[in-house]
């Protein structure tokens, strides 16, 4: 397996990986926001 060729994606690496990284960031932000909101709500309810 040639990894540099794999990441190069036939010259489209920026677009292909950019798409997946953008999607990962957006979904990751949603999950983190949910985790933080859950923590805040649990703390508020304990008081």
């Amino acid at each position: 397996m040639n990894w540099s060729k794999f990441f190069y994606m036939g010259g489209y690496g920026f677009y292909v990986w950019g798409s997946y990284i953008a999607a990962l960031i957006l979904l990751g932000v949603e999950v983190l926001q949910l985790v933080n909101r859950g923590k805040t709500l649990r703390e508020r309810n304990r008081r």
């Binding site: 994606m9 036939g10 677009y15 953008a22 999607a23 979904l27 949910l34 309810n45």
Partner: protein
């Protein structure tokens, strides 16, 4: 087993807590399988080269954006018509995930458009109607946030969601109704798909992963909304695991 009892936010809160792992864990596994099939099994496209691999995230995200809007409008309509609190809470919960998938579809579409069409953005029918879908989601979320009284916010949101649902068939049929740079549908319910089986498999597995992910995060968020709105549930949740 009386399923109607789960229409009560209090009963649904604990059910949702038990269901979340059953959707979240398969979603994570299917994301990995979809990426493996998409990058290591699916062949390079003879016309677009490897740029077409953006399709494996772009198409499922676009489908989820449309599907979640219809689902949000359905729940909002049920909540409005029958004064069902949980249905309105579900609509609020779905809206953020739907907006996120629509944004992913637009961003990845832009990143696919540049190498294939030579432009980051064109005002063609499908892209414009998808942008309108994002604005409808943002409008729904903003409207609900702007009104302090939750039931009034639910009713106002329901009107916007139901009116906006007309945009979904416009997005879907835009490639048939207008001349557009967008390619036509490669997968139809009645006809044979026009793409190679490994490509189709990667896309459908990613769609399943996105669907399971959506269910998991919507259930987590609806539990948060229940906690915020229902004081009796908040007291129970303070001492319970689920």
């Amino acid at each position: 087993m009386n399923l109607y009892k789960y229409a009560s936010p209090t009963a649904f809160y604990s059910l949702a807590g038990k269901l979340i792992p059953w959707f979240a864990i398969p979603a994570a596994l299917l994301f990995i399988v979809a990426l493996y099939v998409g990058f290591f099994v699916a062949p390079t496209d003879f016309q677009q080269g490897d740029a077409y691999r953006i399709m494996f995230i772009h198409v499922p995200a676009a489908w989820m954006g449309m599907f979640l809007y219809v689902l949000m409008a359905f729940y909002a309509g049920i909540g409005w018509s029958f004064n069902a609190r949980l249905a309105s809470m579900m609509a609020s919960s779905i809206s953020i995930t739907g907006a996120l998938f629509t944004l992913i579809a637009l961003v990845t579409g832009s990143l696919w458009g540049k190498p294939t069409w030579g432009a980051w953005w064109v005002w063609d029918a499908r892209m414009t109607s998808t942008l309108i879908l994002l604005f409808l989601y943002i409008g729904f979320i903003s409207l609900q946030s702007a009104i302090d009284e939750p039931r009034r916010a639910d009713r106002a949101g329901a009107v916007l969601a139901l009116v906006g649902v007309v945009n979904v068939p416009i997005i879907y049929f835009s490639v048939q109704w207008w001349n557009t740079l967008h390619q036509g549908a490669t997968i139809r319910i009645l006809n044979k798909p026009t793409i190679a089986p490994p490509m189709l498999a990667a896309m459908l597995i990613m769609l399943a992963a996105c669907w399971l992910y959506s269910v998991a995060v919507v259930l987590v968020r609806v539990r948060h909304i229940i906690l915020e709105r229902e004081q009796n549930v908040a007291r129970v949740a303070a001492v319970a695991v689920y």
